[in-house]
Symmetry: C2
Subunit: 551 residues, 2 copies
């Protein structure tokens, strides 16, 4: 009854063919460093889908440099899959004609160049994703042929030690490893036997080739915030967050992103938070990179657990010595995992709190500005109400406003914490997001919104907190946002009487309503006022990168 006698193992055959094509170069699984370009010219085929690992912290930079050097008459039209586009080489391969299509999740320093190359027709964008949806598609309709990834050490069997920066690697490797793709890992060091590795993060039979990089891979301390740069406004807003949101809803499980606002909160917990008697009642389980500014809260006994997306430079020894708090291996170094941490950030966290560059009248926000295609990263995955969640927590249930219906649902706290003006005179609250025009200009099917207004439950500015989840309808949501939008155009659209009414209804709270005097809100409340004090708190275990050492 079968209609054909077709070959159903073409991918396995092609994999064997590719592996054989470098037998003159490789020694077992090891490719000599200086032969990497030649090996890529054999292993890569025209039009291949190629994962190039670029994460927040970790870059497969040697492999990116090697890829940039391949002969584009041999290897071209690659379809690149990159979680984070961070290095110049990531874009050079498009200019050199080696690659033509890009699927990605986040672009930091390369966001201007992506935008320009898209306009110039050098580059086709598949789609812009969040991290986890990019990983998800690797198992569905974006199955890769080749993955170029990064680890600290490997043994000759390919067993990979990724250490504190395991990050995306397991999710990137599993798809090609089990779909007859080729996996190549650069490492800083190759050892002989498995017992010479601190531990195994990815089994050797998932890895086809290893290569020792010409130099250790580059890591950026992206999540380090110097407390010296925290302003009194951040402290005021942090106090409001702690009292008017964290304590009010009894937030136990949470994610913090980078930003001085949330750094302020971390440094206020052992002081202001302690004075409110909140220790042990809020902020017990964290999903975030190992922020140095969390050290005082950890040392003061606020933090039961931290699971991380990735690592943070300088925190290695501190993590090793605080294994009761962090996820670490038998070797003592951290095991991060962006997929599982994003999953926990989506489904296990009571609260997401973030900042943004622009917010419109309905509460939609975006970090996209003209001339930049910066992508989504992880925020949208955590910064929405996860409608697939079914277990309850106190905070989640606390946001149910409908007390009458038989069928109700808790809600995740999605907090936007912004000053009414960005630096200079640029208002945060705008009539129309820049993202709308960027979408038109770059041909995106819809505007790239970071967080949708109907997912936002709280907007916090220096003016106060708007409890959006209490809004009866869209019209009221808009008025609530305007109530905390200060002297921006949007802020002027609500009357003083209306704001007063919202305050009486508990839908808006000013610092005064929360019993917070603006004069209290100053840097003396910070548990650590500079990086040196963070080091002291850590008993000398935190080893800040040179650029943060000013003492």
């Amino acid at each position: 009854m079968s209609l054909n006698k077709k070959n159903w193992a073409t991918k396995k055959a092609l994999k064997v063919e590719r592996i054989n094509s470098v037998q003159h170069i490789s020694h077992g699984k090891v490719i000599p460093t200086e032969q990497m370009v030649a090996a890529l010219e054999c292993l890569l085929h025209i039009g291949d889908r190629v994962i190039l690992e670029g994460n927040n912290q970790k870059q497969a930079d040697f492999l990116a440099r090697a890829l940039e050097k391949v002969d584009s008459t041999k290897v071209n039209n690659l379809h690149m899959i990159m979680p984070s586009v961070s290095l110049p080489e990531h874009m050079n391969i498009f200019e050199k004609g080696i690659a033509s299509k890009l699927d990605f999740a986040f672009a930091g320093q390369q966001s201007v160049r992506i935008s320009q190359m898209l306009e110039d027709g050098i580059l086709e964008i598949g789609a812009v994703h969040t991290y986890v949806e990019l990983y998800a598609r690797l198992y569905c309709n974006l199955i890769p042929n080749v993955a170029l990834v990064c680890g600290f050490k490997a043994d000759k069997h390919g067993n990979l030690f990724c250490g504190g920066s395991t990050e995306d690697t397991p999710s990137l490797v599993e798809a090609p490893a089990f779909k007859d793709g080729i996996v190549i890992a650069q490492v800083n060091e190759i050892v002989d036997e498995t017992t010479d590795l601190p531990r195994v993060d990815i089994p050797g039979d998932w890895i086809d080739f290893i290569v020792q990089a010409d130099k250790p891979f580059y890591m950026e301390p992206l999540f380090t915030r110097d407390p010296r740069l925290i302003k009194d406004t951040h402290i005021l807003m942090g106090m409001m967050a702690i009292k008017g949101i964290y304590a009010k809803h009894k937030v136990q499980t949470l994610n913090h992103g980078i930003g001085f606002n949330t750094a302020a909160i971390e440094l206020l917990l052992p002081t202001y938070g302690e004075s409110l008697g909140l220790k042990g009642k809020i902020c017990k389980h964290w999903l975030l990179n190992p922020h140095p500014t969390l050290i005082p809260a950890i040392e003061s006994g606020w933090v039961e657990s931290v699971h991380s997306f990735g690592g943070e430079l300088g925190m290695e020894e501190y993590i090793r010595e605080r294994s009761d708090v962090f996820f670490t291996g038998p070797d003592g170094s951290m095991r991060s995992n962006r997929t599982m941490c994003q999953l926990a950030g989506q489904y296990a966290a009571d609260m997401f709190i973030g900042a943004t560059l622009q917010m419109d009248a309905e509460g939609n926000s975006s970090t996209v500005t003209r001339g930049r295609l910066s992508g989504f990263g992880g925020a949208p995955n955590m910064g929405h109400d996860p409608r697939g969640r079914r277990h309850s927590s106190e905070a989640w249930l606390d946001l149910i406003t409908d007390k009458k219906s038989d069928v109700v649902k808790g809600r995740k706290l999605v907090v936007q914490m912004v000053e009414t003006f960005q630096s200079g005179d640029t208002p945060t609250f705008v009539e129309k997001l820049d993202a709308v025009e960027v979408a038109h200009k770059t041909g995106m099917p819809i505007a790239p919104i970071m967080i949708y207004g109907d997912d936002v439950t709280h907007v916090l500015t220096e003016e106060g907190i708007a409890y959006l989840y209490m809004a009866e309808d869209l019209a009221e949501r808009k008025l609530l946002i305007a109530s905390v939008a200060g002297v921006t155009e949007l802020g002027k659209q609500v009357s003083t009487e209306q704001v007063q009414l919202f305050r009486e209804q508990g839908k808006v709270a000013t610092p005064e309503d929360l019993g917070i005097r603006r004069s209290e809100a100053n840097r003396s409340l910070l548990a650590a006022k500079n990086v040196s004090e963070l080091v002291q708190w850590s008993e000398g275990l935190y080893q800040p990168p040179a650029k943060y050492r000013s003492w």
Copy 2:
């Protein structure tokens, strides 16, 4: 400045203590089969959080039997974490006082007993979860002390081969392995060296102890549907689904659950689907267990890829010989992964399609019935609109009805496919879901809803399709549902004129509107009419379990 000189590695110390406590029993990592009960009495402490692996397909049944035999004066008040509660032993441990609290995601045959024991006060429920949110919490506020899991083979270093049924194991093991917990794996066979394993699914240093089970673990062929039981109604509904939903919205990536409705669709693709010229245009990338009823579609060239949550008994050889379609290791056996497949089902899939036992007037549905606490499994994670999704697909964009706003969002197809009556006279459409009363009786904080009405985009019955995503408001959504609710009480609440208007507006489609004659809809359209024909399609590779062999 640090406030204390506390010990921050108590968990690592406790782990060493636990491991030392069985040094008189274990040989390296190997615990002798007959000593397992004694080992558990040493390794488990009172009040421990213990993962006991129970999946859809795979059960750590030997470890469950061993746990049931421990002395409850030594080991008690365990807090059990079980994805799927399936075996009598899973509940016996509560009756015997060994365990007292349960967090779970799904309960099959034990759902009545859970409900009864909860009522009798023998058992405390932490929460009922979906699979992925239970895994997510293992990394946050439900960190386990011990995990009891299941694999096919291990070497003496603990490297684990999980084969086609890798399922939940990696996600369950990673949390305790990196939080100083104890991981014990039962396997069918222990080999000496890593090279004796077909492949490694979980690295050895994540596993503390292995034990050879007294007999191979039990697997149930849960996803096998005998085509002989597909009725003409299923076929009619399947034809409507293909033409009025799959083809209309150009669904490329999808999940199918178990059920005769979706089995009918799978068997109609090579016949009815082919006649509509849809091959290569829809249903290319699948996220589902390896359903035998998908074989004819695969053999006919409809299916580009299948990624699976777990395995299916009898499909092993077929999968091995169809590696272009399935995710397989170098050894040829499948690599399933429930977490990654759920992630893809949530974020990469255009469509979720499911059935339900009860649906209320607003479209909320539940499979909960009185006296059963059956849990959520995986459906809610896939059967909702994932608001964290940012990449586009044709189907996702096709559901945008607001063509004017600057800020819009695509939408996932969430299709509920139900007959208006369940077996007998029991209507599917009801005034109030049984789940509401179950929640009241068992003290659940909110009613256990499987799929919320405002996430549902299409309701398909034998009467027709209601395109709910087109509804202007809740009132219209209710009328649209009533339009396809047949002669149930709910169905009588909409006038013939209103239904006619909806049909003209394209908001409701009957078989006639779709050009489908009810007389066409019969079993002659099925690509395989029984299990024997599935075997023929598979060229003899599919080896159905004995209970499906009737020829």
